[in-house]
């Protein structure tokens, strides 16, 4: 099992989400974060105060997947989040020791495999 952490541009978040759903990745968590990835800083001015914005708004995806799904997930994010400019973000793939599904108590791979009934309900 792996945890795929993807940091992407906020304006790309919807496209990433769509790509993930199309790739059948159905469980994920997102959060708004701020980060710095070497992109040129935007300069802003408020009356006499001029500032360099060192932190950019990003959206962070946390996606727990079973091993054979890692590549699909990463490819979906890579394809959807890229603009080619500095600041497109990063993807980290981390090992995961244990996963539980809270509703059923299922563990590990079973816990990150979508339930068929739910999937049918979606379609």
């Amino acid at each position: 099992m792996k945890l795929v952490v993807a940091i992407v541009r906020p304006e790309k978040a919807n496209e990433v989400l769509e790509a993930l759903f199309r790739a059948d990745v159905q469980g994920l968590t997102i959060s708004r974060v701020q980060g710095h990835g070497g992109e040129t800083e935007e300069v802003e001015t408020y009356r006499g105060t001029t500032v360099k914005m060192e932190l950019q708004e990003k959206v962070r995806f946390d996606i727990g997947v079973s091993d054979h799904f890692v590549e699909t997930t990463v490819k979906a994010v890579l394809g959807a989040a890229r603009t080619g400019d500095v600041g497109d973000g990063k993807i980290f793939v981390l090992p995961v020791e244990k996963i539980y599904r809270i509703r059923t108590g299922e563990e590990d791979r079973a816990a990150v495999t979508p339930v068929q009934v739910v999937a049918a309900g979606r379609a």
């Binding site: 710095h36 935007e42 300069v43 408020y46 105060t49 360099k52 914005m53 400019d85």
Partner: protein, 436 residues
């Protein structure tokens, strides 16, 4: 005509009306600003706010003269340019200077209305150039046609407060601008949602408030006609709001807040040309009828490729057209002392009203297209995709509507003599902690 004299009561009401109409432009900033995404909120609001300055100055320099000085059937002369000869002498029963200021607030809001079709993608510099030139080349002549003694006035077209001059005119320019500049990159690909619906409701409320000056002020006096226009300005949008809410309930089972804000504006637009020409019951019916075309046009437009982002055409174009035509139906001499409409035995009025709308659409369409193409020759009208993704607040204005000071590093611009001792140390620490 009697020797014109100043009437204090009229002057007092027009002073208040002018302030009311001026407030409509910041109100529009809130109405539009709430409907866009947060990364474009300031840019959208600035498009209205900037009109207060740029169109206001253009009006004093040239616009007022082109609209209201004696001239041809098509445009006024230049004798009032730079406000020359515009003093405290009576224009009707109020000082001419006050009349100039009152009409200036109309020019400002009309230009600002156009912005609704091109938000979230037009570069700010070309936008400023466009609205400034547009107020002179398009707004001023059209105002002259109807209110400055031009050909529509001579034909007897009824436009009490600007259904065609303001709303049909602005909506035509908006349609042309949306087509020339093109869609937003996310249009019809992603959901683009309003970022602050309470702003939109606040804007609609303030617009309604200001609109009492717009319509009742167009009587240019504190008299019965002003009272008629005032009451109609209260009744018609109420009618539109009721019908709109019912249509919302029928279609989705839910009455929406954005829908209510839109309905108020549509009702106000529709009663604008009719305000001082129709009775209160007719105003109520007019407001109710006006809901239908705009409501269904909004629903339909969203499925087309036309990215008239904030539906200027559906709200102002259709609302203004319906209002102008229904003025030709409901006008009653018993109320206005000027002309009857279709219902009161004068079907010809409807044809005159239609001619006014068609002339405005034709001229505004062609002239707006020419202006945009002209500016496009000098500098691009649209931001690039990167700037559009980032948002126009940062890319065009170097500001954010909802700034967060985390990660904001102060750039020190020290005066040579006195650099405070403590601050450079902080800057050095920040530089160390920043990027290495």
């Amino acid at each position: 005509m009697n020797q014109p004299t100043l009437v204090p009561a009229d002057t007092a009401w027009m002073l208040a009306s002018t302030a009311l109409v001026l407030l409509m432009t910041p109100a529009l900033a809130f109405f539009y600003g709430g409907l866009v995404r947060s990364k474009n909120a300031l840019n959208t609001m600035m498009m209205s706010v900037a009109a207060l300055g740029f169109v206001g100055v253009a009006w004093a320099v040239l616009g007022y003269s082109l609209a209201f000085a004696d001239g041809s059937a098509f445009v006024g002369g230049l004798q009032r340019a730079f406000l020359s000869g515009v003093g405290l002498q009576p224009q009707g029963t109020i000082p001419q200077l006050l009349f100039m200021a009152y009409q200036g607030t109309f020019a400002i809001i009309t230009a600002a209305l156009v912005s609704g079709a091109i938000v979230e993608r037009m570069r700010f510099g070309p936008y400023l150039a466009f609205i400034t030139l547009w107020s002179l080349v398009v707004y001023a002549p059209v105002a002259h046609w109807v209110w400055g003694g031009g050909f529509l006035a001579r034909m007897g077209a009824l436009d009490f407060a600007g259904g065609t001059v303001v709303h049909v005119n602005a909506a035509t320019a908006a349609l042309v601008a949306a087509l020339v500049i093109g869609q937003r990159k996310d249009y019809a690909r992603q959901a683009i949602l309003p970022h602050n619906v309470p702003f939109t409701l606040l804007g609609a409320g303030l617009l309604w408030f200001g609109w009492f000056g717009f319509n009742a002020g167009s009587a240019l006096a504190a008299n019965g006609l002003a009272a008629l226009a005032f009451a109609n300005t209260m009744l018609a949008p109420a009618g539109t709001l009721v019908v709109w809410t019912l249509l919302d309930l029928l279609r989705n089972g839910k009455a929406t807040a954005v829908g209510a804000a839109t309905a108020i504006v549509v009702g106000l637009v529709a009663i604008t040309p009719a305000a001082g020409f129709v009775g209160p019951r007719a105003a109520l019916v007019l407001g109710m009828l006006a809901a239908f075309p705009s409501y269904y046009a909004l629903v339909y437009r969203a499925r087309t490729r036309l990215d008239d982002s904030l539906d200027v055409v559906a709200a102002h174009g259709l609302g203004g057209t319906v209002g102008a035509l229904l003025t030709g139906v409901f006008a009653a001499k018993w109320w206005n002392g000027v002309a009857d409409g279709l219902l009161h035995g004068n079907p010809a009025q409807l044809a005159v009203q239609a001619a006014g709308v068609v002339a405005t659409i034709a001229y505004s369409g062609v002239a707006s297209y020419a202006l945009l193409k002209l500016i496009d020759l000098v500098t691009p009208l649209k931001v690039d995709r990167r700037e559009e993704g980032l948002g126009l607040d940062v890319s065009q204005h170097g500001e954010e509507a909802y700034a967060d000071d985390e990660g904001a590093i102060l750039i020190l611009q020290r005066t040579e003599a006195e650099a405070p001792a403590a601050v450079p140390a902080i800057a050095a620490a920040a530089a160390e902690g920043g990027r290495s």
